[in-house]
């Protein structure tokens, strides 16, 4: 599965938005655009990513830019995986 599809799967699970995620592209805005995207959701997504990919997200990496779009979130995960 491509990384973007794996991240979409996590968003669907955590935000409980089901098939709506199928239409998401790299340019889909997340933070401030999805009503489900609250602080609890941000933390659940980070925790899910940490568990799935076995990396640690530090405090200063919890940044609004990361969650701006699906594309920025996928880039962040890709970057973490290369660390």
């Amino acid at each position: 599965m491509a990384l973007i599809d794996e991240v979409k799967q996590i968003l669907a699970d955590v935000l409980q938005i089901g098939a709506r995620v199928d239409n998401f592209t790299e340019d889909t805005a997340l933070l401030g655009a999805l009503p489900e995207f609250d602080s609890m959701a941000v933390i659940s997504i980070i925790t899910s990513l940490e568990e799935k990919y076995d990396f640690d997200v530090s405090d200063d990496e919890i940044d609004a830019e990361v969650f701006e779009t699906l594309g920025s979130l996928v880039s962040f995960v890709g970057w973490k995986l290369q660390q």
């Binding site: 699970d13 935000l15 409980q16 609250d38 602080s39 609890m40 933390i43 659940s44 405090d59 919890i62």
Partner: protein
């Protein structure tokens, strides 16, 4: 086909607690089992408690319809019990569980099990190791194995909230921990976390709980992946306990993380497995 059993009776009420009155939901079977057994449900922390309410209610109805009493307790300073979250305290919570246990005994119920969810599993284990009463069974739902890791994840909620609110000054886990060290409450996701509770919670590790005297511990983890094995952190505790002779039986149920999903979700498989385990059927 069996004939439908009469619906259980829900008796919500207040009982006297350690520091204030406790709100308990007592699910009483219409036809109590002659064994008169009950399970005391120990909820998870802060908002996880709200998210888990539905699953607890489903389990209680499932058990009560088969003759078992079920008691869901709101710990002091949470839910509809008296006190504010800022006054909540680990030791008060432990004693509240003991009080709820005694209250069930007063109702004529002698065989009592504890089911702890997330931090509730840490609390249930801590109560069990104080050996104030005999326990029938101990059941965990997605237990928090390390209170400190959990506390860090909880404090992160504040970081995420600050991120969403561009006007607020950005906190760090370190600055929040320093506030707690200075004896100040820290506001996280609408909860005023008291420093003593944070400190107590951070000091709790499941692996250090002395539960070797218990007959059987049933450990349920939930994973969204079919056929998933126990998480590494759970596996470590289970192996350590088994090496110490603790009779712990782990299993993984497929379903969503209902204690943290945005919408309220159900994991029917967990209700079925827990009902079988508590009623003592199917081994």
């Amino acid at each position: 086909m069996t004939s439908p059993r009469p619906l259980p009776v829900l008796r919500p009420q207040f009982i006297p607690g350690t520091a204030g009155r406790l709100f308990v939901n007592h699910f009483s079977p219409a036809e109590p089992d002659p064994k008169r057994h009950a399970v005391l449900l120990i909820p998870p922390f802060a908002d996880e408690m709200n998210k888990s309410r539905r699953m607890f209610s489903m389990l209680a109805r499932s058990l009560a319809s088969q003759g078992m009493d079920c008691c869901l307790i709101d710990l002091y300073g949470t839910g509809d019990s008296e006190g504010n979250f800022a006054d909540a305290d680990w030791d008060i919570w432990c004693r509240d569980v003991q009080i709820a246990h005694s209250w069930l005994v007063q109702q004529g119920i002698m065989n009592i099990s504890l089911l702890g969810m997330r931090t509730g599993a840490l609390l249930a284990s801590d109560v069990a190791q104080r050996r104030m009463f005999t326990l029938d069974k101990l059941v965990f739902w997605q237990p928090v194995v390390d209170g400190e890791t959990f506390l860090n994840q909880f404090l992160r909620l504040r970081l995420a909230a600050d991120m969403l609110n561009t006007k607020s000054k950005k906190s760090t886990s370190e600055s929040l921990r320093q506030s707690l060290m200075r004896g100040e409450c820290v506001e996280v996701a609408g909860y005023m976390l008291p420093p003593a509770l944070a400190q107590e919670l951070a000091s709790k590790k499941l692996v250090e709980m002395d539960v070797s005297h218990l007959g059987q511990i049933s450990w349920f983890d939930v994973s969204s992946h079919e056929g998933a094995s126990l998480s590494q952190s759970s596996q470590t505790v289970v192996e350590r306990w088994q090496s110490l002779g603790v009779k712990v039986k782990p299993s993984v149920v497929t379903g969503s993380s209902f204690w943290m999903t945005a919408e309220i979700t159900e994991v029917p498989g967990l209700i079925v497995a827990s009902t079988e385990c508590l009623l003592g059927v199917g081994g």
